[in-house]
Subunit: 148 residues, 2 copies
């Protein structure tokens, strides 16, 4: 049981942009700082923008920034929006061919477990993930923010 | 986020063998009744036997049966034993190359969500999944058990 790399990259991108604040960042920068594929990341960012988590700023000096403050971005909401397939087993999706799908108790049990999983994520926001901000900056080789 | 087909088939096999009781069954039968690959199922059954959920009976008239009563087979225990990879994101596994793995709060949050997921499964046993026994038998085209 894994989250897709798509969701993983989405959460990492939000952490990056959360650290950057108003300054924001560019797809290439995020890809470089994490050492991940820029091509793959482009689709992730498009989806984050479509779902209203990230704002794209056009023109020279344009780029990306969070569309809402970190405390208004729920981890559960991001996973629900980005994880394409929360069908734990095939009978969650339409078109299942499992012969016992109509009488099997497993779907209900797994559905309850999935709800518990997402309920935990709903208790956290991006702001919680940015807690150890100084260490995250060092790990990503981002400069300290200018003093206000 | 999906369970592997391996775990899915394992749970279905246990449901089949649970319905069969002492009579047990054979890999080919399970594969036929569900319309799934016998080859794939063979590995699943080996793993179920290795993990102590299924007993293989040798010789003519041999086959498979549950190694314990259905109420002693926890759904959570089966998923923990069969699901090879409960690494929700790459930093759960050794060898992660994510640069923020040491300071990122995401691993803790996802780990807590995974625990909640498994805790729900731990509340159910195979006996709970066998509840609607008559419907399951019909769906699998299994005959009613002989009256005691």
């Amino acid at each position: 049981m894994r989250l897709t790399r798509f969701t993983d990259y989405a959460l990492r991108s939000l952490i990056f942009l959360g650290l950057r604040g108003e300054e924001g960042g560019r797809i290439r920068e995020i890809a470089e700082h994490y050492g991940i594929s820029e091509h793959h990341l482009t689709k992730v960012i498009q989806e984050l923008a479509r779902a209203g988590f990230v704002q794209t700023v056009r023109g020279r000096g344009g780029g990306l920034r969070l569309a809402r403050p970190p405390e208004a971005i729920g981890v559960g909401a991001v996973v629900r929006a980005l994880e394409e397939d929360l069908s734990l087993v095939e009978c969650f999706a339409p078109g299942s061919r499992c012969v016992i799908r109509r009488s099997c108790g497993l779907k209900g049990v797994l559905g309850e477990a999935l709800e518990a999983f997402l309920a935990v994520l709903d208790r956290y926001t991006l702001a919680d993930l940015l807690g150890p901000e100084a260490q995250l900056r060092r790990a990503l080789r981002l400069p300290e923010p200018l003093a206000p």
